[in-house]
């Protein structure tokens, strides 16, 4: 058995384990879905008319087209929570020692978590999109735009999952691991998700314009509106790749330190 087939087989075993956890304890996945759905209901159903005025629309239908891409990003960011908790739980319990005393591919534990988390996040994001559509969200996107949007979202998901792995490895206990991803979850608020950054006070506005979620949000908005935005897309890709590399590198260093060879 080559190193690669062994790594693949071991990662698949770890993935099966994580998906079984998710199916058996769906509460975290559901919690990750509930926040964006509640915000969608609240901001469109309750504040929709007022906020619609603020973004230059007026009718409720206009505001949902403005806010839906941001809500989709929140769904993806919410996926971080369960990843961090799962990683931290594994690292603080005896099971990781069992894996480490077996001749298995070392990378498989983290790979299994990352792939498992991404599958969970895809499912919860699809649920959020379905709710948005049910509430009247419609796009003018062509198939190609949809594919580009999906590709961007998957890349963001990959990057944020590795960041979440890092946070899970840093946390001393699962309670701690459930706190730090909250920052990521709420970042889209201080961006262009709910209202345009132009409407914010100067300091906050500066932050909102330069934080990673804003270009991703704008790029996604562009694809879904059928009017792709080249500049934001490029900036988004740079952010995603940067976050993925940083998250992966930190995770690897931390994992090797916590579980030396």
């Amino acid at each position: 058995m080559t190193a690669f087939t062994q790594a693949t087989a071991d990662s698949a075993t770890m993935l099966r384990r994580n998906l079984r956890h998710a199916l058996r304890y769906p509460s975290l996945t559901i919690a990750g879905m509930m926040m964006p759905i509640l915000i969608l209901l609240l901001f469109v159903g309750v504040f929709g008319n007022a906020l619609g005025d603020g973004v230059g629309g007026g009718a409720k239908g206009d505001y949902i087209s403005y806010v839906a891409p941001g809500i989709i990003l929140m769904a993806i960011a919410s996926g971080c929570l369960s990843t961090s908790i799962a990683i931290c739980t594994d690292m603080t319990e005896g099971i990781v020692d069992r894996f480490r005393t077996m001749a298995i591919a070392r990378s498989s534990l983290l790979t299994g978590h990352v792939v498992g988390s991404m599958i969970q996040t895809v499912v919860s994001t699809a649920g959020v999109v379905a709710v948005a559509v049910a509430m009247g969200y419609r796009t003018h996107a062509a198939l190609l735009d949809w594919l580009a949007a999906t590709g961007l979202l998957v890349l963001l998901m990959f990057a944020l999952t590795w960041v979440a792995v890092t946070l899970g490895l840093i946390a001393k206990n699962p309670e701690g691991a459930s706190n730090s991803p909250l920052i990521i979850q709420f970042l889209p608020f201080v961006g262009s998700a709910i209202v345009p950054p132009e409407s914010m006070p100067a300091g906050v506005r500066w932050f909102a314009e330069y934080q990673p979620f804003t270009p991703v949000n704008e790029a996604l908005r562009g694809f879904l509106a059928g009017t792709p935005n080249g500049h934001d897309t490029v900036v988004s890709l740079i952010w995603c790749v940067g976050l993925a590399v940083a998250g992966y590198t930190c995770s690897k260093v931390l994992f090797d330190r916590k579980a030396p060879r």
């Binding site: 058995m1 075993t13 384990r17 005896g94 020692d97 069992r98 480490r100 001749a103 298995i104």
Partner: protein, 320 residues
């Protein structure tokens, strides 16, 4: 190592480990022959778990060298891992999976193939008396069941060498007995067992050889018989109804240890029937009534206390 015999399963020389400036292991030499049970005995904090973690590739030693099943601990860690199974002090089971799923997961990590994995899992469930709970989530298991599942998971890959870190700590007497039987069964099947324990009875009962670890050093090593020979012989304890009888007996027997508060005398003795009869005969001749008599042969407790340097404290309390 040239000096390492062919039959050696676990070999270590000069293992050292310190956490920051606290020395945990201070030069440990080990030589455990294949197919034997070796017990590392020591009080809490003696370094037992650190020794197991180093020998099972979980922790890197600061100095010294070790070979497990002929594989160097550092240069061929995966070779070591292929030969060993480890059951740590804290259960290494997945509480969200069922017992059967746990075993199949480990079998998959051994790349046994789907059919074999299921067969091995079911056989182990039966062997460890877990068939009824096979499809229940492990989080609902009792402590004894978790420990059995943990060991079953360790045995999935048929390891030649098994490390058990305090395998019976926290178990009720019946579960402990079951665990002992399992361990003895493994040894009969040719598996080398390296276990740590703080229970002398456990080491006495299971181990072919015992090493006493205290303060990071091996303070004694041998069979339990050899270790028992290290402490002075046993004694007979006699209790009397009143101080007058105690005085009379003390006069009759000469040099003995008196415990006036307990109205008791402690007389050196080998515990044999003949010497006991002679002792009682002398007391009877002197017309001294003995209320109660108990015979103490040296056990590992005495050895342990003598070696780990904690007996003085106990004696002070007793003689006060």
């Amino acid at each position: 190592m040239d000096t390492e015999p062919r039959q050696t399963a676990i070999f270590a020389k000069g293992l050292r480990k310190a956490f920051k400036d606290k020395v945990v292991l201070d030069g440990i030499d080990l030589d455990v022959p294949r197919g034997t049970i070796f017990a590392l005995l020591g009080p809490n904090g003696a370094g037992k778990t650190t020794a197991v973690r180093i020998l099972s590739t979980l922790l890197r030693a600061d100095g010294g060298e070790a070979r497990i099943a002929g594989c160097d601990l550092v240069k061929d860690a995966d070779g070591v891992r292929r030969a060993i199974g480890v059951t740590g002090q804290y259960s290494a089971v997945d509480g969200l999976l069922t017992g059967r799923e746990n075993l199949i997961m480990v079998a998959d990590l051994h790349h046994l193939g789907k059919e074999t994995a299921r067969r091995v899992a079911d056989a182990l469930l039966e062997r460890f008396d877990l068939l009824d709970a096979a499809r229940k989530q492990v989080s609902t298991y009792s402590g004894g069941m978790r420990r059995r599942l943990d060991l079953a998971m360790t045995l999935v890959g048929d390891p030649r060498i098994v490390f058990l870190d305090e395998p019976t700590t926290g178990l009720d007497p019946r579960s402990r007995r079951t665990m002992w039987e399992i361990i003895q069964g493994l040894a009969r099947g040719g598996v080398t067992i390296f276990l740590t324990t703080q229970y002398l009875e456990e080491a006495d009962r299971l181990a072919d050889r015992i090493a006493v670890l205290d303060g990071g050093r091996l303070v004694a090593e041998g069979t339990s018989e050899e270790l028992k020979r290290l402490v002075p012989g046993g004694h007979v304890r006699l209790r009397f109804a009143d101080l007058a009888a105690l005085d009379a007996a003390a006069r009759t027997l000469g040099v003995v240890t008196r415990h006036d508060d307990a109205l008791a005398l402690q007389v050196p003795s080998d515990g044999g029937v003949r010497s006991l009869r002679a002792l009682l005969g002398r007391l009877e001749d002197a017309a001294v009534e003995v209320e109660e008599m108990s015979v103490h042969t040296p056990d590992l407790d005495d050895v342990f206390l003598a070696l780990t340097g904690r007996p003085e404290k106990n004696e002070k309390v007793a003689s006060k």
